[in-house]
């Protein structure tokens, strides 16, 4: 197995996303919370935006550069700089 010569830019900035099934997500390197409801949590992540969609979402812990999202996560979407996130499906919200 060959390791990359240089770690990615995201790894260099300390950003890391860790999922524990679909019940908990730990995000290191969070730049701030953009949207926070029980169904959607959008956060600034690296140079883009990370969006968690689900039911009964809550911020289990919020610190300076990291947060823990807990709840029933149904979808995770990421949009890099100058790109748009895919639109939310109404059925997901109700389901």
């Amino acid at each position: 197995m060959k390791f990359p010569d240089e770690p990615s830019l995201l790894a260099q900035s300390g950003a890391k996303l860790e999922l524990a099934g679909n019940r908990e997500a730990t995000v290191d390197g969070c730049g701030g919370v953009l949207v926070y409801t029980q169904e959607v949590v959008c956060i600034r992540y690296g140079r883009g935006v990370l969006r968690f969609t689900g039911r009964g979402l809550s911020l289990h812990s919020l610190e300076a550069r990291s947060l823990i999202i807990s709840g029933y996560i149904t979808d995770i979407a990421y949009a890099a700089r100058n790109s748009l996130l895919p639109e939310l499906k109404q059925s997901d919200d109700k389901g």
Binding site: V33, Y36, T37, L59, H60, L62
Partner: protein
């Protein structure tokens, strides 16, 4: 909530804002304020923060233009917050632990069990010299070392155990039993005179008498020999000589009685004082001051026992009697009476088994008193067993 959150205290609050509270959350993160259990709700999002950091939320709230509403406050600091207005209670709590810990560093009771011939007060004094007494700091207590020292001081102790139960010391000891004298049945013995005298009667149980009635003997002279001649077999046999040799003996002794007799006499009424000894500290209960001058002290110490165990509380009752020295000058008759009493006591002590036949007293008077010399003639057994071989 975790135990750590409970120990540091926590506050659950609501973020009241017409808009979302995301800006407030980001401001909090920027100020280094840790939030947890951030839950969105219809009336606004709710979150928890450490009790000590709640005041720090003012700036992020002002910046995000939100209002905060406290929902719940829990944790140890908040439980103790009401004690701020009651310093006495806090001081008493602290004092309780200090006193409990401090007093635990001292011995408060010393219980001694097993004393038969050894006097308990003397043993207590010896233990106190080794640092085991009520009110003494137990820092350098070493049971083994003290046991050895006490055993060395009291050779009659066969076994001693000093047990430290917190502030109580339990001393258990066993004294040696005096071994009964072992009759020496081996070897040959002869009877010799223990006093000078004139033999009046001889009863020989074993051995051969070498003196006869009417003989004068001196101290150490052979009276009954261990050798017995077997006339039939023509040989000598040695025995353990036994018997009694009664003799008339003479003894002289004297006593002196001075004409001045020093006596201590009570000069005024006694004063009774009571005091309380608690944790080795004596607290007087009587307001009366001790009388002036030389005092005779008598009293008793009663230790309070709870459930059969001594507690460091005792009541001391002390009677102080003022006394003064009086020199009484005795006349000749009084001195002679005293001398006779002393001579009788001496006779009983020195010659308990002798039968006194005759007494002759001579009194000599001097400026300081009288000296009575008594010569007694008595009848007593002067035979003394002396071992002549192993």
């Amino acid at each position: 909530m975790s135990v750590m959150h409970w120990l540091t205290g926590w506050v659950r609050f609501r973020v009241v804002t017409p808009k979302g509270g995301e800006r407030f959350l980001n401001s909090c993160a920027r100020f280094g304020i840790i939030l947890w259990q951030v839950k969105p709700g219809e009336k606004g999002m709710t979150a928890c923060v450490r009790a000590g950091q709640y005041k720090l939320l003012r700036r992020p709230a002002k910046r995000a233009k939100v209002r905060l509403h406290i929902l719940k406050r829990r944790g140890l600091p908040l439980k103790l917050a009401h004690l701020r207005g009651r310093p006495g209670l806090v001081a008493a709590f602290a004092l309780f632990w200090i006193v409990l810990f401090g007093l635990g560093q001292f011995f408060w009771t010393v219980e001694i069990n097993g004393c038969k011939r050894i006097q308990e007060p003397a043993l207590r004094t010896a233990l106190a010299a080794q640092g085991v007494a009520p009110g003494i700091w137990k820092g350098n207590f070493s049971a083994k070392e003290i046991q050895l020292k006490i055993m060395k001081k009291y050779p009659q102790i066969s076994w001693i155990s000093i047990n430290n139960h917190g502030s109580d010391v339990d001393v258990q000891l066993t004294e040696k039993d005096t071994a009964p004298p072992v009759a020496d049945q081996k070897g040959w013995y002869e009877l010799r005179a223990s006093q000078n005298g004139k033999v009046t009667e001889i009863h020989v149980g074993a051995g051969t008498a070498v003196v006869k009635k009417g003989d004068g003997v001196v101290k150490g002279q052979l009276l009954v020999s261990a050798a017995v001649e077997n006339k039939d077999e023509k040989f000598m046999q040695l025995y353990h000589a036994a018997g009694t040799v009664m003799a008339e003996t003479t003894h002289t002794f004297q006593v002196s009685v001075p004409n001045h007799l020093t006596q201590w006499k009570t000069c005024s009424d006694s004063v009774e004082r009571r005091s309380l000894r608690i944790f080795g500290i004596q607290i007087p209960l009587s307001v009366q001051l001790p009388p002036q001058g030389t005092l005779k002290r008598a009293g008793e110490l009663t230790t309070v026992r709870l459930c059969g165990k001594e507690i460091p509380l005792s009541v001391m009752r002390e009677t102080l009697t003022p006394i003064q020295r009086i020199i009484h000058r005795r006349n000749h008759q009084e001195m002679k009476q005293e001398a006779m009493r002393m001579l009788e006591n001496r006779e009983k002590a020195d010659f308990p088994k002798a039968e006194i036949i005759k007494r002759k007293d001579s009194v000599k008077t001097s400026p300081t008193g009288i000296t009575v010399t008594r010569q007694i003639k008595c009848r007593e057994n002067i035979a003394e067993e002396v071992k002549i071989s192993q």
